[in-house]
């Protein structure tokens, strides 16, 4: 597969610390064969979510192609911050070389990350930044994500109308960031009102039901979703409602709808929010562990907006027929990831 479209990336180049202390490489884990290899661990607290699954697959794929990772350990369960703390402690006890963590809380992990750092373990937070000083952060800019999509929507509505605001997981840091971006955009459009605000829990079927209920009872001129999009579009027919402009994420199913239903009046935009941040984090981790390259403490991936009014060819370019509806169509992120699309689809870690 050829890279269809490279992902435009802005790096928030704030280099607070050059290299992590004592982290030139995983000296404690040379298990022979001459070449030094490492163990990378993943801590995730939302199971059964397609975006997170794809994130884990990207980590697996990048670890596999890197050639220096001999094992990817998964600590993967539905839990809260205290559960994640205990998971991280377990990973510290296992003596892994690096931990890629999708944090359940922005601040609660600070002390355990500090403890990992003391043990010489590299910690990279993905999807969400954490406040721990020692941690690297590789994140999609969630504030920008919401703001870009919202601005497109409000422009599309001509600056006035009733908007359905479909948020993500109540209390999750990414949701809080997106809300910040959304409110920033909203402040510039005084004639836009929020018809309804709901939490989908990032669950496609929940979001679909909520959309159906609201579309059937409330006047809605536009919909902003936190990535629960293609199942919402499916509800228009059920509700007997004409299409209204809608903003979603780069989910394959949503892109397909924007292309195929364009003729029937569906107007919408995607905002990229690529799960392969996991792959990016892995690439950074292997660079830091082997000492191959240095990286800034914070790497911020800026999202992009594509709509089916002006950018239809771009969407067609993004669309990948072999992917499932809920999977993100953005797979490779230059210049970091070196795997192929097939590697991510296989979702196999080193040695599997």
């Amino acid at each position: 597969m050829v890279i269809r479209r490279s992902f435009q990336v802005g790096t928030g180049a704030m280099v607070l610390a050059l290299v992590l202390a004592g982290c030139g490489g995983g000296d404690d884990s040379g298990d022979g064969d001459g070449a030094e290899t490492f163990t990378i661990a993943v801590s995730n607290t939302l199971v059964g979510n397609q975006w997170r699954e794809q994130m884990v697959c990207a980590i697996n794929a990048q670890a596999r192609v890197s050639g220096v990772v001999d094992d990817v350990v998964l600590a993967n369960r539905d839990t809260d911050a205290s559960g994640q703390i205990s998971d991280l402690e377990g990973l510290i006890s296992q003596g892994v070389d690096a931990i890629i963590v999708n944090p359940a809380d922005r601040t609660a992990l600070d002390d355990v990350i500090a403890a990992a750092d003391e043990q010489g373990i590299l910690v990279i937070s993905v999807d969400q930044a954490v406040t721990a000083e020692a941690a690297y952060n590789v994140t999609n800019d969630q504030v920008a994500y919401a703001e870009l999509g919202a601005r497109w929507l409000f422009e599309q509505l001509g600056g006035s109308g009733d908007v359905l605001y479909m948020r993500g997981f109540d209390g999750h840091p990414a949701d809080a960031d997106r809300d910040e971006g959304f409110q920033q955009a909203l402040a510039d459009y005084p004639d836009i009102t929020i018809a309804n605000e709901v939490f989908t829990g990032w669950d496609p079927s929940t979001g679909a039901q909520q959309a159906l209920d609201i579309l059937s009872t409330t006047q809605v001129d536009g919909i902003w979703t936190s990535g629960i999009d293609y199942t919402v579009v499916e509800q228009f027919e059920a509700a007997g409602h004409p299409y209204v402009p809608i903003v979603g994420a780069d989910n394959n199913g949503f892109i397909q709808q924007l292309i195929e239903l364009e003729g029937e009046g569906l107007v919408g935009a995607i905002v990229t929010n690529p799960p392969p941040v996991g792959g990016v984090a892995t690439a950074i981790a292997t660079d830091l562990l082997t000492g191959a390259a240095e990286h800034p403490q914070d790497t911020l991936l800026t999202p992009e907006v594509f709509n089916n009014v002006d950018d239809l060819p771009a969407l067609e370019n993004l669309y990948l027929p072999e992917l499932a509806q809920g999977e993100s169509a953005t797979i490779e992120i230059a210049p970091w990831t070196t795997y192929t699309q097939q590697d991510v689809l296989d979702c196999k870690g080193p040695g599997e």
Binding site: D71, V73, A75, S82, T107, A115, F169
Partner: protein, 338 residues
């Protein structure tokens, strides 16, 4: 007519050992299983030391307290689906109120939260006893209510507590470290005191009695409503303590519904594995506490074994089923050989 006396009489030493095994065997077995699991865990990781002991001890505190909370209610013949909700509510309330407060105030808040949770759940028990609505219905409602109120108190994860309070539960003001003393004490003392209270006082025995046969207990002069309220109130107190412990471990509160549901389900699993009969009247909260730690310990073990995380839940369920099947077979064999 006359007959030989058919009642069991005092027995010899060997018989009393056999009886001890039969009566305390389950509880002892649970703790032996826990030791075996930890022993196994030490072989899976490069080093097992104070850090690991502290980690297991402090992180299993909420499971232990919630198992005690569920245990006493199940012993009384009920079931408290709201226990997880009460834990989340206490966690959120404690984290919201304690943030930025001096240590003495956080301790007072902790006591108030535990007392408040006890009162609240005592009221739930009273409603159940007086209205005769099944426990499962009322506490299903409280699960939703408590979690809903938690979201009002603390809309999204946050809050905090004092380092001193964290020390009391985790052995460190940062919540992480190698001092396992306080966490072990925080497990052992409440569990043993509670077990002694349940089996040695009239009030505690009345909780066992109403779970065993509430009509017989009533006819024996037990005040059934009062016993039920006491069971729910003490259970609520432990759910509140679980919430405070969570606050101390994470230095934050988390009001999400999933945590409440996980808490309730894990506590039920711990109670079952711990040897407390779901029908009531039989079992020890000491066993339930041990089972709570077992369920907690499975996570790092499964991760260390590299077991596919999606399989981990299956393993948990499998452990429950396997243990119950073995126990059932043993019981059947004993019954058949009588």
């Amino acid at each position: 007519m006359s007959s030989e006396t058919s009642a069991p009489v005092r027995r010899g030493r060997a018989a009393s050992v056999r009886r001890w095994v039969r009566r305390r065997g389950w509880t002892a077995g649970v703790w032996l299983l826990l030791l075996a699991l930890i022993g196994w865990y030490t072989t899976l990781i490069p080093e097992f030391g104070e850090f690991e002991i502290t980690s297991i001890a402090k992180n299993s505190l909420p499971s232990v307290y919630l198992a005690l909370a569920q245990g006493v209610v199940v012993i009384s013949g009920g079931v408290d689906l709201g226990a997880g909700g009460l834990m989340v509510l206490s966690n959120s309330t404690a984290a919201a109120l304690m943030e930025g407060q001096p240590p003495e105030v956080t301790v007072l808040i902790a006591l108030a939260v535990v007392a408040g949770a006890a009162l609240l759940n005592g009221f739930v028990g009273w409603v159940i006893a007086v209205s005769r609505i099944p426990d499962i219905v009322v506490t299903l409602a409280t699960l939703f209510i408590f979690t809903g109120v938690a979201l009002m108190v603390l809309p999204s994860p946050g809050g905090g507590t004092s380092g001193q309070l964290r020390y009391a539960f985790t052995g460190s003001t940062t919540g992480i470290g190698t001092n396992f003393g306080p966490s072990l004490i925080a497990i052992a003392v409440p569990t043993l005191l509670f077990a002694a209270w349940l089996t040695r006082t009239r009030t505690g025995l009345s909780i066992y009695a109403i779970g065993s046969d509430d009509h017989a207990a009533y006819l024996s002069g037990v005040r059934v409503v009062r016993a039920k309220v006491t069971a729910y109130a003490t259970g609520g107190g432990f759910a509140g303590l679980a919430g405070v412990a969570l606050t101390a471990i994470a230095n934050s509160g988390d009001p999400r519904f999933d945590n409440a549901v996980n808490g309730t389900l894990n506590s039920l699993a711990a109670v079952v594995l711990g040897g407390i009969l779901l029908g009531g009247g039989v079992g020890s909260v000491v066993g339930a506490a041990g089972a709570g730690i077992i369920f907690f310990t499975l996570s790092p073990i499964l991760t260390a074994m590299g077991i596919d995380p999606n399989t981990a839940q299956v393993v948990r369920g499998g452990v429950i089923v396997a243990v119950m099947v073995v126990a059932g077979l043993l019981q059947l064999r004993r019954w058949r050989t009588q």
